[in-house]
Amino acid sequence: MAETVKDKNRENRKIYAPAVDIIETTNNILLFADMPGVNEKTVDVTVEKNLLTIHGMIEPTIDDKLTLVFSEYGSGDYQRVFSLTDEIDKNNIKATVRNGVLKLVLPKTEKIKTRKIEVSGEA
């Protein structure tokens, strides 16, 4: 019962799109998302077909007896969806969270990794 109430409340919460950096390296795509307030238990990363969804839940940290004087940021959940191409190895995506930043390592599939071809001089 309590669970349903909680879920119902959550539906009305605002959802924010976290700011994201994406870096392409030789073997991986790295994704960094600013999600202050989440830890490894409250963040979900899911891959369904070619859709990568990152979702974070925030629990209020402020005591009810305080009144808000001014507010520059809102509190809500985080969500953002990305589409992945076949060039990413979807089974080996790794995720870590530290200081409110989610880091994803998305490995490139073997076939598209840049290959360096040695040029040998003719004798």
Partner: protein, 143 residues
């Protein structure tokens, strides 16, 4: 691009998100001054004021807090990822650099009793109100 965003498509299904997106983009493009960073929320009751701020990716040792009378100053640095040869940003939305913010508090605080904690990228600072300024209840004696 190996990774493409579906945010815009999603937004069409949620009108207020689309509005927020437009709002943010317009602000970003037109505003000559960058939007304040970090963003701050301020809470209070009779005895104390609480300042919370979002600083993801910052180490707690790198945050400097100064309190004098009625103002609090936060100073910190957020470093970008170091790129090696052959690595490149394909999307860059997060802000980097040295930041400083000064906030006016609603009353004087006891600067020696300020407590700050940093967890999950959120800084939480509790500043007790100066004793002399606390509201006092005066009991009326009958003659």
């Amino acid at each position: 691009m190996l990774i493409r965003e579906l945010e815009r498509l999603e937004n069409l299904l949620q009108p207020w998100r689309e509005f927020e997106y437009i709002n943010r983009e317009v602000f970003r493009t037109l505003s000559p001054v960058q939007v304040e960073f970090p963003l701050v929320n301020l809470w209070k009751n009779e005895d104390k004021v609480v300042v919370t701020t979002e600083m993801p990716g910052v180490e707690s040792e790198g945050v400097e807090i100064n309190v004098t009378g009625k103002t609090i100053t936060l100073r910190f640095e957020r470093k970008p990822e170091e790129l090696k040869d052959g690595e490149a940003y394909t999307r860059r939305e997060r802000r980097y650099g040295e930041f400083k913010r000064t906030i006016e508090l609603p009353f004087n605080v006891q600067s020696d009793k300020v407590e700050a904690k940093f967890s999950k990228g959120i800084l939480y600072i509790e500043l007790p109100r100066a004793e002399a300024e606390k509201p006092r209840k005066i009991t009326v004696k009958s003659e």
